[in-house]
Amino acid sequence: MAVGEFEPKIAGFLCNWCSYAGADLAGTSRMSYPPNIRIIRVPCSGRVDPLFVVKTFQQGADGVLVAGCHLGDCHYNEGNFYSRRRFALLAPFLDYLGIQKERFRLEWVSASEGRKFSDVVTSFTNDLKKLGPRNVLSSGGRG
């Protein structure tokens, strides 16, 4: 990691049953991936309110990753189908507001896909490095 290079901040909302376990597997398997991601565990990708994503961007994240079980494998059967519909509409809307669509990712990572998790984080980090820092509005704390 070169000194002075832009290091993007990524917030990752990972579902408890698949993606969080996938991230855990990547760690226990000693796979390396960039430390730019901050992981937040949620019960299901369907739990991720679009408000979380918008708020995370406002607080200064350069990218947001939402990851859950593969379609059809949801622990709650259909949570990820609902979340897919929501984010299919949110992603172009954020792009419309000036937050490029490359800054948001919705991925399906199962508990056995430690390799896929590390690949996703690596490629996401590289993409964000190319995009550069986001033009974040200064908010001034809790106000």
């Binding site: 679009p50 408000l51 918008v54 708020k55 406002q58 379609l71 059809g72 259909e78 990820n80 189908f81 609902y82 979340s83 897919r84 519909r85 929501r86 984010f87 299919a88 509409l89 949110l90 992603a91 172009p92 809307f93 954020l94 792009d95 419309y96 507001l97 000036g98 937050i99 490029q100 919705l106 991925e107 399906w108 033009n135 974040v136 509005l137 200064s138 908010s139 001034g140 704390g141 809790r142 106000g143």
Partner: protein, 291 residues
């Protein structure tokens, strides 16, 4: 047209109120400037003589139906086509009881822009981009149904123009717009869809939107306000009309409407029996995100 419109509305409103089953009939009366219109809530048969309808009756009165939700009596409403779509939205979301509502649907000629005492001959944006010029539900139809009436030719031209700009331009444009917001929440108060008992913006813990009126906080408010109406906004554009600092909110609302049509083939308020897009899903669908 206006004379007979007024008479039909008055006659029906009088009949409803005289029956004793109705708590109120909502419609329009002449504003005190003598030119434009304002809402009228008629509670007695005598008051119905003040009802008028013309091309300055801009308010979406469907906003007020919910106030009578717990009243045993019915209410009547004078509704333009976009207002009838709002009624469909409320029925679909089980907020109001159709059997306790009498809809006087008005075949709309379009609504003109008007300031206080200064009516113009210019159609409002919502009428230039209107996709349904006939009432989608009514108990009494005032005026002529337009059978061949198609919607506007290019309802999303301004949205497409905004999409065509670069990310930096869009970012700059919206930052400037949101920085002017004074967070009076007039957009929310005028909206038929914003009936939540507690709005996310009023919550203090977690504090989703900071109390300070700052550009970044305003951006969260406007993004989520629009997104909470995704697949629900019926394009009456009252939010933009009441905005004191003229933020082009319809550019946000209609972007979501456009994408909702493309992705889910859904337009809010057209049919109360259709499940809205976020309450359902199809397993094999391709949406461009998370496929």
């Amino acid at each position: 047209m206006t004379e007979s419109f007024d008479k039909q509305i008055r006659d029906k409103a009088r009949e409803l109120l005289k029956s004793g089953d109705f708590a109120c009939v909502m419609g329009y009366e002449r504003a005190t400037d003598g030119k434009t219109a304002r809402p009228l809530f008629a509670y007695t048969p005598e008051e119905v003589e003040r009802f008028v309808f013309d091309q300055y009756c801009t308010h979406n009165l469907a906003r007020y139906i919910i106030n009578w939700r717990d009243n045993k009596k019915s209410v009547g409403i004078v509704a333009k086509p976009c207002d009838t779509r709002a009624i469909n939205l409320l029925i679909n979301e089980k907020q109001i009881d159709r059997s306790k509502l009498y809809v006087i649907g008005v075949a709309c000629q379009g609504i003109m822009e008007a300031g206080w005492g200064a009516p113009t001959e210019k159609l409002q944006l919502r009428c230039n981009t209107c996709s349904e010029p006939n009432p989608v539900l009514h108990d009494l139809l005032v005026g002529e149904f337009k059978p061949e009436a198609a919607g506007a030719a290019k309802p999303y031209a301004d949205v497409a123009a905004m999409e065509g700009k670069s990310a930096e331009e869009r970012d700059g444009f919206w930052q400037e717009q949101f920085s002017r917001c004074i967070r009076c929440y007039a957009c929310r108060q005028s909206c038929v869809g914003c009936y939540c008992q507690e709005c996310f913006v009023d919550e203090l813990d977690p504090l989703w939107v900071g109390i300070k009126v700052a550009p970044a906080e305003n951006a969260v408010w406007h993004t989520i306000r629009a997104f909470h109406l995704a697949g629900r906004c019926i394009s009456c554009n009252e939010c933009e009309r009441v905005c004191p600092v003229d933020i082009p909110l319809s550019l946000l609302n209609r972007k979501l409407e456009k994408d909702g049509l493309d992705l889910f083939q859904f337009q809010a308020g057209m049919d109360a029996s259709v499940t809205p897009p976020f309450a359902t899903f199809k397993k094999g669908e391709k949406l461009g995100t998370g496929d």
